[in-house]
């Protein structure tokens, strides 16, 4: 059933459209938001199962044969990402029910949330570069609105940096597209892959590769292009931060992996070495930036940067094991990072601040929250046997296999520094005493959580925490999935065959 491939894009669109129709009925939008996310997740999982069983699926939209029309393609990597996006969408939308204020809810929060999910799913499932650009813009536009919704001063300042740098990134991406079309007369990724492999001026290919690296590097917050991220991710309401942290930079990583496995693989020694160096620098600067921070969400934002370094590291090493490691890392990271942001939101809800020096004693006040934080934070740092340990182990083993000792050492050292930041949060917010004399800017009145709020806030965190444990204790099936996805990426013949119906 090939129509299945369109559903992860269509369902969020329909949900968002209905949310807009019921603009004045906030309670209807809340129900629609959750139902739409459930349907999105179900179709994404269904798609994952059918791709796993039957191989790569492709459809030509409007029946225009490839490479002339727009193609939608689902290989294992893209469906894994779609499932993760749908899962995070569902978790965050449930969390929003209790954490989002009614003002934002009635200004179209759920509609834009689903437009965002539509854009993200579109990026993952398209097989055409120009179409990818359009989905990027759908995603960016909704993220702009979500970031600025509410119009608080710091939100607007953060949004300006986010919007400007993302527009520049889109501009560079579009420039690269224009040149690519001028050279080859096609923008279908499978067709491009054939034509670039078929022989093209190396200089131009390398120039284009670097343009794509910069454009997607801004989106995935690579060194030295990451400055928009820590300036903006801590400004919106926590549910928005959580979905951004979970998905948006990973969309950039997805496109990087896609482009640098399918299109630009002629000069691996040159392009992928650059990627590897950037990966190391991204890891180190991100983790050092985090050490200098004293605010819950700012620390987590800097850790996104350092973690993106690990994902790119697998791409830079460019061996089957390393790519599998990258994909495994993305699966682990999206779950853990979203969960940590959700934890920070509950901590703020209980004690009124994100500042570490105003938090404390959560260990006694909220034991369940403490356990969830512990699982996620230790997993992020890579403590065995949690999911982060396996993810780092695969990447380090892959780099040792090809005697890339420097990057392996960097990865291990950064893991240690991550543990330092996490124990800083642990010591200040969970273990230590809460300071009595609270400074200005802290909401003094903390209503205790109602039972319904408790369910909506804790259910997503518990599910994500259990998933982290599952990936940790039963990593074999997840690793096998990642390995299959990496094999498909490294041998694009099946991909090209699925899209064009022929192999060169």
């Amino acid at each position: 059933m090939k129509l299945l491939l369109v559903l992860p894009i269509l369902i969020p669109l329909i949900t968002a459209a209905f949310c807009l129709l019921f603009w004045r009925l906030r309670s209807v939008q809340r129900v629609l938001g959750v139902l739409g996310s459930v349907a999105h997740l179900v179709t994404a999982l269904w798609l994952l199962v059918s791709v796993r069983l039957d191989g790569i699926i492709a459809i030509q939209v409007g029946n225009w044969p490839a490479p002339f029309g727009i193609t939608l393609v689902a290989d294992l990597f893209s469906v894994i990402m779609t499932v993760l996006a749908a899962l995070m969408g569902l978790m965050v939308v449930i969390y929003s029910l209790a954490s989002m204020d009614s003002g934002r809810e009635s200004s179209g929060y759920y509609a834009f949330f689903h437009f965002l999910l539509m854009g993200v799913s579109g990026v993952f499932l398209t097989g055409d570069l120009f179409n990818l650009y359009v989905w990027f813009e759908v995603m960016l536009m909704s993220s702009f609105v979500l970031l600025a919704l509410g119009g608080e001063k710091h939100q607007l300042e953060g949004a300006i940096k986010y919007v400007t740098l993302n527009l520049i990134s889109s501009a560079i991406f579009l420039t690269a597209l224009g040149i690519l079309y001028g050279m080859l007369g096609t923008l279908n990724m499978a067709d491009l892959s054939l034509q670039i492999r078929g022989g093209m001026n190396m200089g131009i290919v390398s120039t284009l590769a670097m343009l794509f690296l910069v454009a997607f590097g801004i989106k995935s917050a690579l060194f030295p292009l990451f400055f928009w991220l820590p300036a903006s991710y801590h400004t919106p309401p926590v549910a928005v931060s959580a979905i951004f942290a979970g998905l948006l930079t990973k969309v950039g990583v997805y496109t990087l992996v896609r482009v640098f496995t399918l299109l630009f693989v002629q000069d691996v020694a040159y392009t992928h070495t650059i990627i590897l160096v950037i990966a190391g620098l991204t890891m180190v600067t991100g983790v050092l930036g985090a050490m200098a921070q004293d605010e819950f969400r700012r620390i987590l934002s800097f850790h996104i940067i350092s973690q993106v370094g690990y994902m790119i590291m697998g791409l830079g090493l460019f061996t089957p094991l390393a790519l599998a490691g990258s994909i495994f890392y993305i699966m682990h990271h999206i779950i853990v990072k979203t969960n940590l942001f959700l934890v920070s939101g509950v901590a703020r809800r209980l004690q009124g601040s994100y500042q570490l020096n105003q938090l404390g004693g959560l260990y006694q006040a909220a034991p369940a929250l403490t356990i969830i934080f512990m699982i996620s934070a230790f997993s992020l740092a890579g403590i065995p046997p949690l999911s982060g340990f396996w993810a780092k182990l695969i990447l380090v083993k892959a780099s040792l296999d090809i005697t890339a000792y420097l990057i392996a050492a960097t990865a291990l050292a950064v893991g240690l520094l991550t543990l330092f930041s996490m124990s800083k949060i642990w010591a200040a917010a969970f273990w230590g005493e809460q300071p009595q004399a609270t400074a200005a800017g802290v909401e003094q009145v903390h209503l205790p959580l109602k039972a319904s709020e408790k369910i909506a806030l804790y259910l997503p965190m518990i599910v994500l925490g259990l998933l982290t444990l599952t990936i940790g204790f039963m990593s074999a099936p997840f690793f096998e999935l990642a390995t299959h996805a990496a094999d498909q990426l490294l041998d694009p013949a099946a991909y090209i065959h699925a899209v064009l119906g022929r192999v060169k």
Partner: protein, 115 residues
């Protein structure tokens, strides 16, 4: 013709990037506008400028007999224009709203959320 277009594209890119680097929010927006126009022209030029050859196939032929203009870049540019129109309109509103809230006239005054 291509050379002339290439010079215009280069000039627009230069002006756009120059304006992006200034401190004033208004110049930043104008820079983004110039940049998006430069890219549209770039796509148009890179895909080849062919004048007076309509991409129509005679009814008795299966394919075009001579080289015709490529209609696809214009479709791409049209899409890009629509998107950049929407995005830049949003950016303008965002900047004006920010000015009303913070009354900051240069980007240097918007450092509160930086690290």
């Amino acid at each position: 013709m291509e050379i002339l277009a290439a010079i215009v594209v280069g000039g627009l890119f230069g002006a756009g990037v120059y304006l992006l680097m200034s401190r004033s929010p208004v110049r930043l927006i104008i820079g983004l506008v110039l940049l998006s126009n430069a890219i549209n022209l770039l796509i148009f030029t890179a895909a080849g400028l062919i004048r007076g050859k309509v991409p129509l196939i005679p009814s008795d032929a299966l394919r075009a007999v001579e080289v015709t203009a490529d209609p696809l870049p214009q479709a791409l540019i049209l899409t890009a224009i629509v998107i950049s129109f929407g995005v830049l309109a949003f950016a303008l509103v965002l900047f004006s709203r920010t000015f009303k809230t913070t009354s900051a006239t240069t980007l240097d005054e918007m450092k509160a959320t930086d690290t």
